[in-house]
């Protein structure tokens, strides 16, 4: 048993993984989208899910907050636990789950309401803030944590849809953290943004890691390398390889990972 392996084990023993997926199979009608996924996601880390289009990484992401429930033909088997609670089989209401597991989508999708109402929606919905002052404080702190406060503090009443793409995405992140979730899922959050806006979001993700567990799906391997501590490589519905980001990108164990990160396919 070499030293590094020992260290990893020690770390795992110290902190129980936030999310544990065991034998997760997902079917869309007859076709199987995910095959027996086994994945641990550590708390206060950024885990990147990479892989070619259609490999199932977004599907897996959506399993974590049960967004797949909305799709009629979708069927999830297996066990995913969030801090030991089975999110599919323990009678947990998906509404409560989604309050603990926030999500940021590929395309910025602020509600066509004011910036203030966008942020205040979650706290109002879950009855988190009591009273107007507390709600205002929540809105401000969420916007500050998302690095948007300075840019929008004078126009909280103007529509969220009037912001630029990058600002909109940060607004969506602020909206997600306003309910103080434990996990934030991000589904290619920068794919619709320009490089400067992308850089800001990546910086933000790094800051948020302190308080949240983040799972990010990305098409950009550079992004995965920049923001994540762990990377999981999905291919054709299988989880091929998962490990420390540095290690996965420098010395992948699997041929397919090697092929993908060197740009031979994908």
């Amino acid at each position: 048993m070499d030293m590094q392996n020992f260290k990893t084990r020690e770390k795992a023993a110290m902190a129980e993984p936030k999310i544990i997926a065991r034998d997760v199979n997902v079917y869309y009608g007859q076709s199987q989208a995910l095959k027996s996924i086994e994945l641990d996601i550590a708390a206060n880390e950024v885990t990147a899910l990479i892989g070619p289009s259609g490999c199932g990484k977004s599907t897996f992401l959506r399993c974590i907050n049960r967004m797949n429930d909305v799709i009629e033909s979708c069927r999830v088997e297996g066990r995913i636990t969030l801090e030991g609670i089975d999110i599919y089989n323990s009678g947990l209401d998906p509404v409560l789950l989604r309050a603990r597991v926030g999500m940021v989508f590929q395309k910025p999708n602020p509600f066509p309401k004011s910036i203030y109402d966008n942020i205040a929606y979650g706290p109002r919905l879950h009855g988190i803030a009591s009273g107007k002052d507390e709600l205002e404080a929540t809105v401000e702190s969420s916007l500050r944590r998302a690095g948007l406060w300075e840019e929008v503090k004078d126009r909280l009443d103007s529509p969220g849809t009037g912001l630029s793409g990058g600002q909109q995405q940060r607004l969506c992140i602020a909206r997600a953290i306003a309910v103080n979730p434990e996990v934030i899922l991000m589904d290619e959050p920068c794919s619709a943004l320009d490089p400067i806006a992308t850089a800001k979001i990546e910086e933000l993700i790094d800051e948020l890691r302190e308080n949240f567990t983040i799972v990010i799906v990305t098409h950009s391997m550079q992004q995965a390398a920049r923001v994540s501590q762990k990377t999981a490589f999905f291919h054709l519905g299988e989880l091929v390889e998962v490990g420390e980001t540095d290690k996965l990108f420098t010395s992948p164990e699997d041929q397919r990972t090697q092929g993908y990160i060197t740009g031979r396919f994908g």
Partner: protein
């Protein structure tokens, strides 16, 4: 210069393509112009035929209002004043004006110069100003519909007397009256305050307007909630399976069912089975609601479908339940489209005649309906009834009623636009 030859070839092709484009533009322009022209023609025809209905001819008569005939007891109370026989007074005034009318026939045509309800004009004038009693006053009384038509120029003088509604003798009297400036035209307020009548000069549109309003209120109250809830359920909650497919196909088919079929349904179910009152706006509204439902459901579903799925995902991702997602986000965003669909459906219902014929709303109703259970008629049916009447005076009333109907449609569309603007601003 190897590039040039293909460019040369392209030039010919380009010319052809440009010509085709210009031609297509011209076709489009021609189509638009034709449509505008036809619409303009229609409107001009309606307005030019109908505007005269907003005026009514009155005849000024010197009426001797003797205390002895009107108020023999001299009480001066309104009831006593109202009870007097103004018809006799009016006839005396006419006889005094034209003493040459002696025979029974002559007298009858003399009395026919004024409308059959002209005595009420006189009575109202007295009730308004009781001081007139005991004096000889010049009172304006409504002319009969034939006189009205003649004064407005619809009855030509130069045809043989037998083909004319106004005979030579009456022409002579009217000429004398006109020479004395005793024939005047006033704004026809009665057209907007009276219900239907057999006498064109007494007939008004208010009964039909109120009937239409009651009917549409019932229609809206029934089909808006049912239609919108159906659309929301089918679009947002219902699973996709054979049953929902069947329902969807049937809704689409119902939208294409001829409206008279809904009238038959109303007759069989609402009148015969449930025994609801005949000719009532209640039943009319229910029948029209059946007819309008598919339109509203289809329009609402389209509006709901047009709301981007990303909004639903955003709300669900925030932990909103499906119902919260729909009512906090999707429904408000679809509201403008739903309202447009609803108002279009209501406009269709406003103009509908056929189904109402089946449930007896085609009857001649001389009263303004006071509730949704009273016998009533609606605007399009009123137009149909007047268009069907033989009297010359109803021709202009028909066009005027069409104008009123069009005005209602314009107002409804304006409301639709306003509501849409209002809801859009909230985003």
């Amino acid at each position: 210069m190897e590039l040039n030859p293909p460019l040369e070839i392209d030039k010919a092709l380009l010319k052809k393509r440009n010509a085709a484009e210009t031609r297509f533009k011209l076709y489009g322009l021609a189509a638009v112009l034709t449509a505008v022209l036809v619409l303009g023609l229609l409107l001009t025809s309606i307005v030019s035929k109908g505007y005269t209905a907003f005026e009514q001819t009155y005849i000024l008569l010197d009426v001797r209002l003797d205390q002895a005939t009107i108020d023999p007891k001299g009480t001066g109370r309104q009831e006593d004043l109202a009870a007097a026989s103004y018809r006799g007074i009016l006839r005396d005034a006419l006889k005094e004006q034209f003493p040459e009318a002696e025979s029974r026939n002559e007298k009858r045509s003399l009395y026919g110069l004024v409308g059959s309800a002209a005595e009420y004009d006189l009575r109202n004038a007295v009730l308004e100003n009781p001081k007139l009693v005991g004096t000889t006053a010049t009172i304006a009384v409504k002319a009969s519909d034939d006189v009205d038509s003649y004064i407005k120029g619809f009855i030509p003088r130069d045809v043989p007397q037998s083909d004319r509604k106004i005979k030579d003798q009456e022409l002579g009297w009217l000429d004398t009256l006109e020479a004395d400036d005793r024939v005047i035209k006033k704004f026809n307020i009665d057209f907007f305050t009276h219900a239907d009548s057999r006498e064109p000069e007494e007939a008004g549109i208010l009964g039909a307007v109120i009937g239409s309003l009651y009917t549409l209120a019932i229609t809206l109250a029934l089909c808006f909630p049912i239609g919108v809830l159906t659309a929301i359920y089918l679009e947002e909650f219902a699973p996709r399976n054979r049953w929902t497919d069947i329902i969807e196909v049937n809704i689409n088919n119902l939208a294409a069912v001829p409206s008279i079929v809904f009238g038959l349904l109303g007759l069989a179910i609402f009148l015969n089975f449930f025994g609801l009152p005949r000719s009532a706006p209640l039943v009319g509204g229910m029948v029209l609601a059946l007819m309008t439902l598919p339109t509203i459901i289809i329009a609402s579903r389209a509006a709901l479908k047009a709301v981007p799925p990303s909004i639903r995902e955003a709300a669900l991702g925030m932990g909103a339940s499906r119902m919260q997602t729909v009512f906090h986000h999707v429904f408000p965003l679809a509201m403008p489209g739903i309202l447009t669909g609803t108002i279009l459906g209501m406009a269709q219902a406003l103009g509908e005649t056929a189904p109402l014929l089946m449930i007896g709303m085609v009857a001649f109703i001389a009263d303004i309906p006071g509730s949704i259970n009273d016998a009533a008629t609606v605007l399009p049916v009123q137009i149909f009834l007047w268009a069907d009447s033989p009297e010359r005076g109803f021709v202009e009333k028909t066009s005027a009623a069409i104008m009123v109907l069009l005005a209602f449609l314009v107002v409804m569309n304006a409301i639709a636009v306003l509501l849409r603007k209002r809801f859009e601003r909230r985003w």
